[in-house]
C-alpha cells in the first residue's frame, strides 16, 4: 500500500524541529524510518505532518567522558562498528547482530528503536541493562527519564507529541564483567519470539552483580528484577542457576498469540536465559 498524503518538513536545527512539533498537531517524527515507513505505507498511521529529523547532525554523535553519550540519530550500522561502543558497551554490539538486516541497519537509528519500542526490540533491552537515561527535549525545555520509566505500555514510550528524544546516556559497568545476549526468531532478522540480555560480575565463584533484560515475551521489554534478586549472591553454578530461575520465570505473564503460544515462549525464555548467563559467565575473566 501507499502512504496517505502528509505535509513534510525537514528542519535544519533542533530549535526549528521542536518549534514544529509544538505548532503542528498530529506530527510524526521521521528518523531512520525503518518502523515509521512501514506504518505509513500500510496506513496504520496517517499523520497530517511528518517532521524529518535527519538534518539534525548534532544528534548523530557518539562520545565518551565518564559515560557514553549517544545522539538519538546514530544509525544502527554506526553502533555496530564504532570503537567507543566496542570498548564500553560490548553487549550492544552483540545485540545488534539480531537487529533487522544490514539493509535496515544502514538507516535505522537508536532513538527510533527506543521510541518505536517494539516488545521484541533489542536496543531498548541493552539500554535497560545499563540503566540508561534518556534526554527528551521540547520547546519548553529538556527532561531526563530513567529507562525503567520509559516504557509505559505496548509500544508506548513516555514521550509527549511535542517532544523529541535527543540523547541517550549510558554508564558502562566497571570492568571486569561478562555479557551475554541470546535470542530466538524464526529467521535471522525477524522479530524475536524471546530474547535475553545479561551483564554479570563474579567474585570467587559468587555472583556479586547481575543485570538481566527480557524482550519478546511481554508487551514491553524490561529488566527481570525478580530473577536478578534471586541470583545475586548465589554461586555461579549453572545447574544451581537453572533451578533458581524457574520460579521467576513462572511469574511472567507470557504473550500468547495465534503464531506463538505463551507456553512456548516460556520454555524458550528458560533456555535462552540460562545460555545468556553462561555466555556472560565465560566472559567474566575473573574467578
Amino acid at each position: 500500500m501507499k502512504a496517505s498524503a502528509f505535509t513534510y518538513h525537514k528542519p535544519n536545527s533542533l530549535d526549528e524541529a521542536l518549534g514544529l512539533l509544538k505548532s503542528e498537531e498530529e506530527a510524526k517524527v521521521l528518523a531512520g524510518g525503518q518502523s515509521l515507513m512501514p506504518m505509513l505505507n500500510m496506513r496504520f498511521v496517517q499523520p497530517e505532518t511528518v517532521v524529518d529529523v535527519n538534518g539534525l547532525s548534532e544528534l548523530s554523535t557518539i562520545s565518551f567522558t565518564d559515560r557514553v553519550e549517544l545522539g538519538a540519530l546514530v544509525r544502527q550500522k554506526t553502533l555496530a562498528t564504532d570503537t567507543i561502543i566496542e570498548q564500553h558497551l560490548p553487549v550492544m554490539r552483540e545485540a545488534l547482530k539480531w537487529v533487522g538486516h544490514f539493509q535496515t541497519q544502514s538507516r535505522g537509528t537508536i532513538g527510533g528503536s527506543l521510541c518505536h519500542l517494539d516488545p521484541a526490540s533489542e536496543l531498548p533491552m541493552v539500554a535497560l541493562l545499563y540503566d540508561a537515561e534518556l534526554q527528551v527535549a521540547s520547546a519548553s525545555g529538556t527532561r531526563v527519564i530513567p529507562i525503567k520509566e520509559w516504557g509505559l505500555a505496548y509500544m508506548m514510550p513516555s514521550i509527549g507529541p511535542d517532544e523529541l528524544l535527543t540523547k541517550i546516556f549510558i554508564k558502562p559497568w566497571d570492568k571486569p564483567y561478562g555479557f551475554g545476549f541470546q535470542e530466538f526468531a524464526r529467521r535471522h532478522g525477524d522479530f524475536a519470539i524471546a530474547a535475553v540480555g545479561c551483564l554479570l560480575k563474579l567474585k570467587n565463584g559468587v555472583i556479586t552483580d547481575i543485570a538481566i533484560s527480557i524482550g519478546g515475551v511481554e508487551d514491553v521489554p524490561r529488566r527481570f528484577i525478580e530473577c536478578e534478586d534471586e541470583l545475586r549472591g548465589s554461586n555461579y553454578d549453572i545447574n544451581e542457576i537453572k533451578q533458581r530461575i524457574v520460579n521467576p520465570l513462572n511469574q511472567i505473564n507470557y504473550l500468547d498469540d495465534s503464531l506463538v503460544t505463551g507456553s512456548y515462549r516460556h520454555k524458550l525464555l528458560k533456555g535462552l536465559l540460562a545460555r545468556a548467563i553462561e555466555q556472560a559467565g565465560t566472559r567474566t575473566n575473573s574467578d
Binding site: 498524503a5 515507513m37 512501514p38 511528518v50
Partner: protein
C-alpha cells in the same frame, strides 16, 4: 497536495523532478525515473526486493522517501553492469548458478550482495546467508543464490587484488 523538488544522481546520471512527499524512493525510481528493475514486493520492509544502494549503503527503497534521497547517489540494478553492457561478476554468477527463476527477487539480491561484497568480498558462507536473510526468494530456492554469491565474491576479491 504538497510537492517537493528533488535532485539526485541515479546510476551516475543526474535526475530531478517534483514528488509528493509521501512517495517512497522505490516508486520514484520506477515511475518518475522509469527504472523498473527495482521491484516492490511488500512495501513494508520485509521482502528486500526493493533494495537499492544510496551513498554506498544498501537500503530498502520502500522505507525511504524520495525526498530523503535528495542530493544522494543512488545505484539500482540497472547501474550494476558496466557501461558497455558487460555483466558484473554477480550477474554472471547468477546466470552460471541458476540463481534466478522468475527474477522478482533478483534485483534486490544483487544490489544487497553488491553492497555487502564490495565492502569486503572475503565472507564466510554463514555471513553470506545472513546478508541475504532479509531478501525473500519465493521460487528459485537459496542454494543457487548462495553458490552464485560465493563465485562472485571470489572473482571480486581477485579483481581487487589486481
Amino acid at each position: 497536495m504538497q510537492e517537493q523538488d528533488v535532485q539526485m544522481h541515479v546510476n551516475g546520471k543526474p535526475v530531478s523532478g517534483k514528488v509528493e512527499a509521501r512517495t517512497h524512493l522505490g516508486d520514484f525510481l520506477r515511475q518518475a525515473v522509469g527504472l523498473t528493475g527495482t521491484h516492490l514486493g511488500c512495501e513494508h520492509g520485509v521482502c528486500g526486493a526493493c533494495t537499492v544502494i544510496v551513498d554506498g549503503d544498501a537500503v530498502r527503497s520502500c522505507l525511504m522517501l524520495a525526498v530523503q534521497a535528495d542530493n544522494c547517489d543512488v545505484t539500482t540494478i540497472e547501474g550494476i553492469a558496466e557501461e558497455n553492457g558487460s555483466l558484473h561478476p554477480l550477474q554472471e554468477a547468477f546466470r552460471n548458478n541458476h540463481a534466478l527463476q522468475c527474477g522478482f527477487c533478483t534485483a534486490g539480491m544483487i544490489t544487497s550482495l553488491y553492497a555487502f561484497l564490495s565492502e569486503n568480498p572475503n565472507r564466510s558462507d554463514e555471513e553470506i546467508r545472513e546478508a541475504i536473510s532479509g531478501n525473500i526468494c519465493r521460487c528459485t530456492g537459496y542454494q543457487g543464490i548462495i553458490s552464485a554469491a560465493k563465485e562472485a565474491a571470489a572473482k571480486m576479491a581477485k579483481d581487487n587484488r589486481n
